[in-house]
């Protein structure tokens, strides 16, 4: 993990409310593995105070760059959406546990929801560049076509790709999880990797458990330190006895789906 200054090389709006940032940051780009994130200081002042975590969407090692894809949801992302190329930012990273990749050729399924596509783009690329490359099927769901940000980045890295939108404006109409049955019924899927809203992840985890397919999810939680020190970013995990909590920043953000206490995770979803 490094603490480093990185220059914003590029900022591109890729869809309404969605931006792609490219940083010149060779030290982090070289070390990063799919599933890891950076903890980015949005402003040099005290507003906003805390850093913001973003998954690494892509790295280009020869160019020494890394890319982040984000959706504008609040103050920090609003500032980033207006950041001028040439501005320097403080980045901590790469942080967290990456997606574990198979040692032998496997057929894998990626399930992305909304901006959760970011770490799966990096993963898809890595899976196909392994010594024993994987066959990658990709599913990408969002509310509407506009929210399928960077879908080309994912689809071009997959051997098969299907999109879904809730309003039917692109791909199949419905939830991305509606596509799971067909994928599994066809057979062949040996592992699943997913990132997206909690409700989506809980459904993916449920179906994988039922069919006994190994599944990993990337989770989000509000963070302060980002390095495991403050115990602020926990999620509930299953286990014998009392409730246990693990840190998203250090023990995650990638967790085996079977480890997560989905009942507690979804208890207060609206």
């Amino acid at each position: 993990m490094l603490s480093t200054s990185a220059e914003l090389a590029h900022r591109e709006q890729v869809a309404p409310e969605h931006y792609l940032l490219t940083f010149d940051c060779p030290p982090i780009a070289e070390q990063a593995q799919p599933g890891q994130f950076v903890h980015l200081r949005v402003s040099e002042g005290l507003e906003p105070l805390l850093r913001r975590p973003f998954s690494i969407m892509n790295v280009n090692i020869p160019a020494g760059s890394l890319q982040l894809l984000f959706r504008v949801v609040g103050r920090g992302t609003q500032i980033l959406a207006q950041a001028a190329p040439g501005t320097w930012f403080d980045l901590l990273g790469p942080l967290g546990q990456p997606f574990p990749v198979p040692a032998t050729t496997q057929e894998v399924l990626l399930v992305a929801g909304g901006v959760g596509v970011a770490p799966l783009i990096f993963l898809a690329e890595a899976l196909r560049e392994l010594p024993a490359p994987c066959y990658v099927r990709g599913l990408f769901g969002a509310r509407t076509e506009d929210d399928l940000a960077c879908w080309l980045e994912l689809s071009t890295r997959c051997d098969e790709f299907t999109a879904a939108t809730e309003d039917g404006s692109a791909g199949q109409k419905g939830l991305v999880t509606d596509l799971l049955d067909e994928q599994f019924d066809r057979g062949g899927v040996e592992r699943v990797y997913a990132c997206g809203p909690v409700a989506m992840l809980a459904e993916v985890a449920r179906q994988c458990e039922r069919r006994q397919i190994a599944c990993w999810v990337s989770l989000e939680q509000r963070m302060a330190c980002g390095v495991g020190a403050c115990l602020g970013c926990v999620i509930p995990v299953r286990g014998p006895g009392d409730t246990r909590y693990l840190r998203v920043c250090q023990d995650g953000p990638v967790f085996p789906a079977a480890q997560v206490d989905w009942e507690a995770m979804t208890a207060d979803l609206d």
Partner: protein, 304 residues
């Protein structure tokens, strides 16, 4: 230029500590921060038995600050002694162990068992944590309870005893006096201010615990004021904290009467905050021809 300070016989190479709960047990920042440069480390609160902590969300950003409701998640005394303490000792800086309990007996047992452990510079009695249902802050809100608790712990330990005070009181000097009467060698202040935040979209509190403790620059003026008041009321050394990000912030506490300071939330903003504060203090002293940092303690009181 001498940055060293003495806190009731405890020698610190410089007056800048990292605050309890913000730097874990040191390991998380190892390799990112030169921990050996710190004046000392205050550990996350240790309880007798392991604690799972509060349900998430546990943190929430606020203007120039944050709320937290971690709730004493820690591996318990056994694991602390067997695994965390040996690793902490390797950094070669004073280790101040923050202890917390639900009953007086728990505090006493913790103190007694830590008294036999090697490599502990001081105990910091956490009677000011707002994020647990019982124990913790309840001891820190009433002078009688504070005096009784500190006195009982005093009997159980020969170590330097620091009592960490809560700002959630009407008159902090009464609590400070009670802790000193009970036998506390030094005081640290402030712990977090109880606050809350509401998610207006979901129409419910943001934090799983409903309320949390406010920290960061937002609380600094309150912390400086309380440091000033306590320094006036008691003779024992004070470790001041609350929103320190820069060396200028640290100097405010020192000039108000603190012998040392601690950086908490500032570590989250930038892991090297405490180290930068140390460098800044040294620079300041050189520039202003201050021979020793202790000359600045309480400087604002004397107009010095």
């Amino acid at each position: 230029m001498d940055l060293s300070v003495e806190i009731a016989g405890l020698h610190l190479a410089n007056p800048v500590l990292v605050a309890s709960g913000t730097c874990g047990f040191g390991e998380e920042y190892a390799g990112r921060v030169d921990i050996s440069r710190l004046g000392g480390i205050c550990t996350k609160a240790i309880t007798l038995h392991p604690r799972a902590g509060n349900p998430p969300p546990r943190i929430c950003e606020t203007p120039a600050g944050m709320l937290n409701a971690i709730g004493w998640q820690n591996p318990g005394l056994e694991v602390f002694l067997a695994e965390k303490l040996p690793a902490l000792r390797a950094y070669g800086v004073p280790i101040i162990v923050n202890v917390a309990g639900e009953t007086l007996e728990e505090y006493v047992e913790l103190a007694a068992r830590l008294n036999d452990a090697d490599g502990i510079a001081a105990l910091e009695l956490n009677i000011s944590c707002p994020n647990v249902e019982c124990g913790g802050m309840q001891f820190g809100l009433a002078p009688d309870l504070t005096r009784e608790l500190v006195a009982a712990v005093r009997q159980a330990t020969d170590q330097v005893l620091i009592t960490k005070l809560s700002p959630n009181v009407t008159d902090i000097t009464a609590l400070a006096q009670a802790a000193v009467d009970g036998g506390s060698d030094a005081l640290s202040l402030i712990n977090t201010l109880v606050g809350m935040s509401i998610d207006i979209q979901r129409r419910r509190p943001v934090l799983g615990n409903i309320t949390g403790g406010l920290s960061g620059p937002a609380i600094r003026p309150v912390a400086v004021r309380m440091t000033w008041q306590v320094a006036e009321a008691v003779e024992v050394p004070i470790i001041g904290m609350g929103g320190i990000i820069t060396y200028e912030d640290a100097l405010e506490f020192i000039m108000a009467g603190a012998s040392a300071v601690a950086v908490g939330t500032g570590n989250f903003v930038e892991p090297t905050t405490a180290v930068h504060v140390i460098d800044g203090l040294r620079e300041y002293c050189i520039q202003h021809q201050i021979a020793k940092i202790t000359d600045l303690v309480g400087a604002a009181r004397t107009g010095g």
